[in-house]
C-alpha cells in the first residue's frame, strides 16, 4: 500500500517537473506571461530602461527593498491586530498571550519588530544613495526628494508610536521622555504634550492615540505618499542613470524580464533573510509598565539615541527643537541650493567630492568624541556663569562654541580643496551624518547606569 502510494507521488512529481522543464512552458513564461500578462507592472516601470541604471551595484535595490519591507510590515501588522488589545490593563497581557499561546505569535512579532528597525536602516540607505548620486535636482527629482523625506519621517513616527504598544517599562518611559520634548516649544509646547498624550501623563488615552496613528493614520498616509513617489519616479523615467563613457554599456534593455527578475530575486533573498533572522532575534519585552519607577538607564531606541545624546550637552529647547528643526530645514531645502552643475548619476559628484566627503567624515569622527568628553569633564558653562539663565549657559554658549568649530572646519575645507557648491553641500552632509552616527554610538555603547560615560566593557 505504502509502496504504491510512493510510486504514485513520485510519478506525479516527475510529471510536474517534466511540465515545468518543457521548453514550451519556459517559452510561455518568458514571452507570454512576462511580457503580456504582467503588463500592469509597466505602471511602475517604463518599458525599457538604460542598461547601466539597473546594475545592482548602482542602486543596490534599496528603494525596492524598502517597498518589500513596507508590504511585509502591513501584512504582519494586520496579523498582530487580531490579537493585540490597546488598553493599559490588557495590552501587556495580550502580548504575553500572543507569545505564549499563539502558534508563530512570537515569530510574527519578531518579524514585525525586526522589519521596523530594518525599515529605518533601508530608508536611510536609500536616501543616502539618492543624495550621494545627486538624484534630487529640480525640476524633475526635487519633488521626490521632499516626498521621500516625508516618508522617512513617517517611518520614524510609525516606529515611535509602535514602541508604546507593548506597554512595558521600555515603551512607557521612552514615550514619556519623547512626548515631554515637545513641552520645550515656546508658548504652545505644554499644550502640545497634553494633546498628544490625551492628558497630563502617559495613560490609556495616549495608548489609544498612538494605536490609532500606528494602525490607521500613518499607514494610510504612507501608502498615498508611496504611490505618489512611484508615479514621480516613473515620470522621471526611472532612477537617475549613471554616467558612463564606455559604448558597450550604453543602450536600453527591456524591463521584462531584465529588471523584474532582478527585483524578484533581491526581494526573495531579503525575505528569506528576515524570516531566518527573526527566528533568532526575539523582540524585547521588559516588565509591565510602572509609572513610579524609571529603569536605570533609560535609553531611547537606537535610531533616536543620537538625539538623546545631544540632550546631554544642550539646553532641551536647543537639543530637541532648534537643532532638529535646523537640520530638517537643511534637508528639505537641499535641492534648491543653486548648484553650478547637475552631477546626477555620479557617485559623490566628482573625484574631489569623494575627497571632501571623506575628509569631513574624518573630522567629524574625531571632533565629536573629543567634544563629548570635553563637555563631560572640562566645560561647565553652568558653573562658570551660575547667575545666567540656563538657556544662555546651557543653550547659547555650547551652540556658539560648536558653531565656531564648525566654521573653522568649513573655512579649512574651502581653503584646502576649493570645492564648488555641490561638493561643499555634500561635505557638510557627510559631516552631520558622521556626527549623528558617533552620537548614536556613544549613547548606545558608552553610557552606563546614570548615563555616565564609561567604556563598553565596564557597563
Amino acid at each position: 500500500m505504502y509502496f504504491i502510494h510512493t510510486i504514485c507521488t513520485y510519478n506525479t512529481l516527475k510529471k510536474i517537473c517534466r511540465f515545468v522543464a518543457q521548453e514550451k512552458t519556459v517559452l510561455y513564461f518568458k514571452t507570454e506571461f512576462m511580457q503580456k500578462k504582467l503588463t500592469f507592472l509597466l505602471h511602475i516601470h517604463p518599458k525599457r530602461v538604460p542598461r547601466t541604471s539597473i546594475r545592482f551595484t548602482y542602486t543596490f535595490g534599496l528603494g525596492g527593498i524598502t517597498l518589500l519591507l513596507i508590504l511585509l510590515q502591513i501584512f504582519t501588522g494586520i496579523l498582530l491586530k487580531f490579537v493585540y488589545i490597546p488598553s493599559p490593563a490588557k495590552a501587556y497581557d495580550s502580548i504575553l498571550f500572543l507569545q505564549n499561546q499563539i502558534l508563530f505569535g512570537q515569530y510574527v512579532r519578531n518579524i514585525h519588530h525586526l522589519d521596523g528597525e530594518l525599515l529605518v536602516v533601508l530608508a536611510l540607505l536609500h536616501m543616502l544613495r539618492v543624495f550621494f548620486t545627486e538624484a534630487f535636482h529640480p525640476p524633475i527629482r526635487s519633488g521626490n526628494w521632499i516626498l521621500g523625506l516625508c516618508m522617512f519621517l513617517l517611518i520614524m513616527f510609525s516606529n515611535f508610536t509602535g514602541y508604546l504598544m507593548p506597554w512595558d517599562q521600555l515603551s512607557y518611559w521612552a514615550v514619556t521622555v519623547v512626548t515631554n520634548m515637545f513641552s520645550y516649544i515656546p508658548l504652545i509646547g505644554p499644550h502640545i504634550t497634553v494633546f498628544i498624550r490625551g492628558g497630563a501623563d502617559v495613560t490609556g488615552n495616549t495608548l489609544m492615540n498612538f494605536f490609532n496613528f500606528h494602525t490607521a493614520i500613518i499607514p494610510l498616509t504612507f501608502i498615498i505618499l508611496m504611490i505618489f513617489h512611484f508615479w514621480k519616479v516613473r515620470k522621471a523615467g526611472g532612477v537617475a542613470p549613471p554616467r558612463t563613457s564606455q559604448d558597450h554599456e550604453r543602450g536600453l534593455v527591456p524591463v521584462m524580464p531584465d529588471l523584474i527578475v532582478k527585483e524578484v530575486a533581491v526581494g526573495l533573498i531579503v525575505l528569506a533573510f528576515i524570516f531566518m533572522l527573526a527566528i533568532f532575534l526575539n523582540a524585547p519585552l521588559r516588565e509591565r509598565a510602572n509609572p513610579a519607577f524609571s529603569p536605570n538607564p533609560v535609553k531611547a531606541p537606537w535610531y533616536f539615541i543620537g538625539i538623546q545624546e545631544m540632550l546631554m550637552h544642550f539646553h532641551p529647547f536647543v537639543g530637541t527643537i532648534l537643532i532638529p528643526l535646523f537640520l530638517l530645514g537643511f534637508l528639505f531645502y537641499l535641492p534648491w541650493l543653486h548648484y553650478p552643475q547637475n552631477n546626477a548619476g555620479i557617485w559623490f559628484s566628482s573625484l574631489k567630492g569623494r575627497h571632501t566627503a571623506i575628509f569631513s567624515g574624518i573630522v567629524a569622527f574625531i571632533l565629536t568624541p573629543v567634544l563629548i568628553v570635553a563637555d563631560e569633564y572640562l566645560i561647565h558653562f553652568n558653573l562658570w556663569f551660575p547667575s545666567l539663565p540656563s538657556i544662555l549657559s546651557e543653550g547659547l554658549f555650547p551652540v556658539l562654541l560648536y558653531g565656531l568649530l564648525f566654521y573653522l572646519y568649513l573655512f579649512y575645507l574651502r581653503r584646502k580643496y576649493r570645492p564648488n557648491v555641490n561638493e561643499t553641500v555634500q561635505a557638510v552632509f557627510a559631516f552631520f551624518l558622521v556626527t549623528y552616527t558617533v552620537l548614536s554610538l556613544t549613547g548606545l555603547f558608552f553610557r552606563g547606569p546614570g548615563m555616565i560615560l564609561m567604556w563598553p566593557w565596564q557597563i
Partner: protein
C-alpha cells in the same frame, strides 16, 4: 492627437481658446459659480475639521474627575529623620525633611523630560536615570540638563501627621524657604 483623441470634440477656432474666461461673454456667471464652489469647498473643509476636533481632543474629558482640595495622610513627622526622604510611590512623590526642620513634598518627575528621580543616599541627591540631572534634597537643580527645580505638592502637618494634596503639583523655578512647612 491623432486616432486616440478623435472622439474628443475639436476646437473649431484653435487660435482662440474656447474656455478662456476673459474672452467669453458670460464670464461673470461662470466666475460667480466658481466662487460659489470655492466657498462650498471651504465650508466642507471646515465641517470635516469641526467634526474631528471633539474626537481628537477627547483625552481630557475621558479622564475621571478627581476630587480637589483633598489632603491624604502619608506619614508621621517622627518617621522621617532630618536630612532624609521618604518615598511615597503611589503618589509619585518624596517627603523630604530638610536640615532646618522644614518639610517638602517633592514630585518624583524630573523636570527635564519626566523620568522618575531616585534618591541617592550616599550623595544625598536625587538622580535622574535618563539624562543624569541631579537635584538637592530641596529639589533644586545641582546638575543640568534639567532647567528648573522639581515640582512640589501642597503639604500640611496636623497633629504630627503629614498630609499632602496629590492633585495639585506646583511648578516652581527655584527653591525658596517659604515653600517649606514646619512641624
Amino acid at each position: 492627437m491623432s486616432k486616440k483623441m478623435s472622439h474628443i470634440k475639436q476646437n473649431p477656432h484653435p487660435e482662440k481658446d474656447e474656455y478662456d474666461l476673459k474672452e467669453t461673454p458670460d464670464n461673470s456667471r461662470r466666475s460667480f459659480f466658481r466662487k460659489i464652489w470655492g466657498w462650498i469647498a471651504l465650508a466642507a473643509g471646515v465641517e470635516l475639521a469641526g467634526l474631528s476636533i471633539p474626537f481628537i481632543g477627547s483625552g481630557r474629558k475621558k479622564q475621571t474627575k478627581k476630587e480637589t482640595g483633598k489632603f491624604t495622610a502619608i506619614a508621621q513627622v517622627s518617621d522621617i529623620p532630618a536630612g532624609s526622604v521618604l518615598p511615597y510611590r503611589s503618589g509619585r512623590l518624596y517627603i523630604c525633611h530638610l536640615k532646618d526642620g522644614g518639610f517638602l513634598a517633592v514630585s518624583i518627575k524630573c523636570t527635564h523630560l519626566g523620568c522618575s528621580v531616585e534618591w541617592d543616599e550616599k550623595k544625598k541627591e536625587f538622580l535622574c536615570p535618563c539624562h543624569h540631572s541631579m537635584f538637592s534634597l530641596n529639589g533644586e537643580v545641582v546638575n543640568p540638563p534639567a532647567t528648573r527645580a522639581l515640582n512640589i505638592y501642597p503639604l500640611k502637618i496636623e497633629e504630627g501627621v503629614i498630609k499632602v494634596n496629590l492633585e495639585h503639583p506646583i511648578r516652581r523655578k527655584h527653591y525658596n524657604k517659604s515653600q517649606e512647612t514646619y512641624a
